[in-house]
Symmetry: C2
Subunit: 206 residues, 2 copies
């Protein structure tokens, strides 16, 4: 059964169990999904209101983008756990002959790259939520501004949580170019995400 | 139907809809639930391991506490939306006579206090996750340390997200002592939560 098809209670209980999946990567994706949903909600609560007619077109665009990103994050909840399970499966491959060992080692490397790429994509997508959150906070329905703030925090958690899970996997990947490429891309995002988040939270003064 | 009984996908889609509930308060509770679940998981992955025999009793205590807190957060997901709906219901009370108006106004005040207290309790409980997260990060299974880090970020989001929702409601409450009391309690927690979070994240160096 897909994780996203579990009840909220069932999914959270499964997270709390001693099985390693769903773990931090899937929870990072859940954070992204919640952030995208809140942005979509604020845009939806802005559209059709006379007071916000000037930003109607912009809000419709954000609503549509956030809607798609939400679906993508929901898919990542399952993809992250599936990628983790692939590593477990590779470790169980036979290692009786030299040929076995080579094939097993290659399968582990391949699966580990996959398990690094899924949370990398989660973190990249979560970072892309921040400009949308900025627009709904600055121009959207001001009665829902705190929902934009919660979305912003969810996006930041998703970025850091996802990238922590990338880094765990990078530790066992031998392809140095692959590792260097992902590290550089993550560093660029990580260096700015806390500042971007704080700037948005500062706009929601209650 | 209870929100926590919806599928993860259904709950997230409902959040994204133009209906104001579930909103930031319920998402703050979801963040708390995810944080508690991840702490429970790290404790579970520590218990029974020879390497961590010295902290076995402590981990069992954390596992049990986090398990209970997780259930409480799941209940708050629904309580927050129910409290919001009570305000909506109070606003719909008749206001034809002076007596009606008085009763309606009192009902709105009462419902708004309720809608402030639920996220206040969410934020307080989320703050109480941080010492548990600290223990699993410092003494728990080091292979799951990033899950402790994600739990820490979820706890911090839950605190701020919940308190933003308290403050929205405090703005319409006339009982000044009630408002001052909650504001003072929130300030004490808010002043330290970001620092506590950062100190824990700094321990998870990857």
């Amino acid at each position: 059964m897909e994780l996203k098809a579990l009840s909220v209670e069932g999914f959270i209980n499964e997270t709390g169990s001693s099985s390693p999946a769903p773990g931090g990567g899937s929870i990072a994706a859940l954070n992204g999904a919640a952030g995208a949903a809140l942005i979509e909600m604020v845009a939806s609560l802005t559209i059709g209101k006379e007071k916000y007619a000037a930003v109607e077109a912009e809000m419709k665009e954000i609503q549509s983008k956030a809607h798609e990103m939400k679906a993508q994050f929901l898919a990542y909840i399952d993809e992250d756990s599936a990628a983790f399970n692939k590593i477990m499966a590779a470790f169980k491959l036979p290692k009786d002959t030299e040929e076995d060992k080579k094939a097993r080692s290659a399968a582990i490397q391949e699966a580990t790259k996959g398990a690094a790429l899924v949370p990398f994509k989660i973190g990249e997508l979560a970072n892309a939520l921040l400009p949308l959150a900025a627009t709904v906070i600055e121009k959207g329905n001001q009665n829902a501004i705190t929902d934009g703030a919660v979305a912003t925090m969810n996006a930041r958690t998703s970025v850091h949580g996802a990238f922590l899970n990338v880094k765990i996997n990078l530790g066992s990947i031998k392809d140095e170019a692959f590792v260097a490429d992902l590290n550089a891309k993550m560093e660029a995002i990580e260096n700015s995400v806390d500042e971007k988040e704080q700037a948005l939270l500062n706009k929601v003064n209650l």
